[in-house]
Amino acid sequence: MSAPAAKLEVSGLQKRFGGLTAVRDVSFSVHAGEILGLIGPNGSGKSTVMKSILGVERPDAGSVRVDAREVAGWPPHRIAQLGVGMVFQHSRPLHRQTVLENILLGLLPDRLLDLLPRAAANARARAIAERVGLTGVLNRRPATLPFADLRKIEIAKAIARDPQVVLIDEPFAGLTARETASFAKLITEMRDDGRAVLIVDHNVKSMSALVDRVYAMNVGEKIAEGTVAEVMANETVRKVYLGGALTTAARPEAAFADAQTPFLEIENLSVVYDKAQALEGVSLHVHEGEFVAVVGLNGAGKTTLFNAVSGLVPYAGDIRRQGKPLRGRTAAMIAREGIVQSPEGRELFGLMTVGENLDMGGHGLGDKERGERREWLFNLFPILKERQRQTAATLSGGEQQMLTIARALMMKPDLLILDEPTLGLAPVVMEQISKALERLRQTTEITVLLGEQNVTFALPHADRVYVLEHGRIVWEGDPSRFAAEAGAMYL
């Protein structure tokens, strides 16, 4: 007797955005009563796969079948009506409605003439609320609720839809250990109800106890498939997440002169963002001339950390530069005074040329010095010299990233903060940037704080490594010991 057909079947999925192939030939299936984990670092294409299943994106090729029906290209509401439910990564309750009303929304049919409130729907909403543990706050509004309750509302809405297939995006981000356990229980209950569950997340660790199988992606393609153990042992997966055999060139801390008062000191930093604790009790320091890497997956809090240093988000705790607190200085002041960011979003002036972008970076310099500095940067990034009259928006991803770094360097920074410089770049380009960083390290006395999820790229440059996970520093030490000591929690 043949196995029952899969509830969700994705085959040969392909999606391109302009010249970039986000997803190439992805195929997997999820059966009723099964949990599949879809993992991949940022830029791996897993979000595009999710959006293709939900109908938010239309795949260029391949098929998406729900209960044997082809749904690729259908509008989202029709796919939802067929029985596909979604638990979003970020809680998005209706703020003006009570918890009960939010859950009720999941129970309503898509009718224009539903004018009378129904007792049955109400009762069912209460039952669902009880199942997820929201009975006490049914009549409260989301703004007054803690983070975990907001996540419960999301899962309650999904349960209310009674879906055959459930997609869950990063279910445990921002939850404590206890909350994670109760959430995991709700997810297994959904599986036991006979639904097909697809969990999407960055790494295996968060879902290892939960999933039956894992499908791992990187750069738009599959790199491994199998049980948790199989995937975690897979060579390619280990290389992507932990880096392969790496040569490190770390200088010991004692080599730096400012041992007493490090150039940058961060003490007990906490940032709350949209209710979630983005950073909690983070402490780290960077010596003058040192190259420190902060390693962590997407969503760990690296960007928030850097934004706090740059004065772009409010925070609790202390951030000191050469002993003097940065609190109270405007973001522009902090940048002018020598702490410059090359941000994750690049923030280039798209319609200005490469040369003009660089000149904007050098706005504080005299004409001669600006010209000299430009030449030096063209030397560091030769491709920029070639493209100097081209507008920034027409550059490739790698060229834009190099321009972002070069523009930041035009400001003659004392501390350069690099936020995910290799995101979405091809290996060849990563190599070029890596070489430029190496030259920078050897020919100047610049201090660098690098935030990366790509360990292979970050470790060879670093003198010291911090690991940031869910807003907390969980490991600090020498890069050569990283794979041995921190690897397990990373994968």
Partner: protein, 291 residues
Amino acid sequence: MLFWQILIDGFAISSLYALGATGFTLIFGVTGVLNLSHGAIMVAAAVAAWAASGNFGAGAYVGAVFGVVVALLLALATYYLIVRRLQLSRAVREEEKEIFILTATLLWGIMIQEAIAYLFTNNAKTVLPIVDGVVTILGVRTPANEIFTAFVCWATIGALWLFVNRTLAGKAVLAASMNPRGVTLLGIELSTVYVGVWAIYGALAGVAGVLLGMFLGVSSYSAGPLTASAFSIVVLGGLGSVSGSLIAAYVVGYLETLTAYLISPAYRAIPALLLLVAVMYVRPRGLLGRR
């Protein structure tokens, strides 16, 4: 003969529209604000110039400068009292800020308009022109004032272009219209840029207003239609695109002039509106719009 007349008249009117629209689109492009008190500020400049040069006998030049200064002050007041207050307000949710700013600037415009009507009556006024007399171009007798108007409009637009493309401050403004976060990251205070932009806007609206006052005259009733035509042009050309506004200003200006001459002055606003509707349906971004 008629052809040349239409060409010249259309050019003068279009130049005036272009200047007014440039200011309007500059503010939108850099700060994201659709300033519905635009027309009122222009009228205020014209009436101030009229009062100074005529009533208080300060002469045409001084009156004109006074008018521009008044517009500058009103623009800064609009920024500080209204726009900035609402942008920083925590009582209004992000998604709603736009409509609140729209409504507030509209009310502010009405207040200015009514204040003018109260202080100076709502009769039409013509500002004392700086240039007098009539010249003959291509066989058409044209008031020298008309030539002067077109000239000053283009000189002002040219000065703006030089500013934006050749000075650091101007480039900072341009950069802010593309990526405000990027500007901050490079150590330039955004708040300073914004104040500068509103001041420039005030000057542009002031010059446009004073010239309009000299060319065609204004009354407090002109405020609404002036705002309407400015944003029609800006939408047509593409919100946030200065070159788009310039082109659109000439399209609208000539459409209006042609209609007024060949069909009837009463219908002059219609073709431009029809064009606007067509654009809204077919290409809401406008000719060269970015946002």
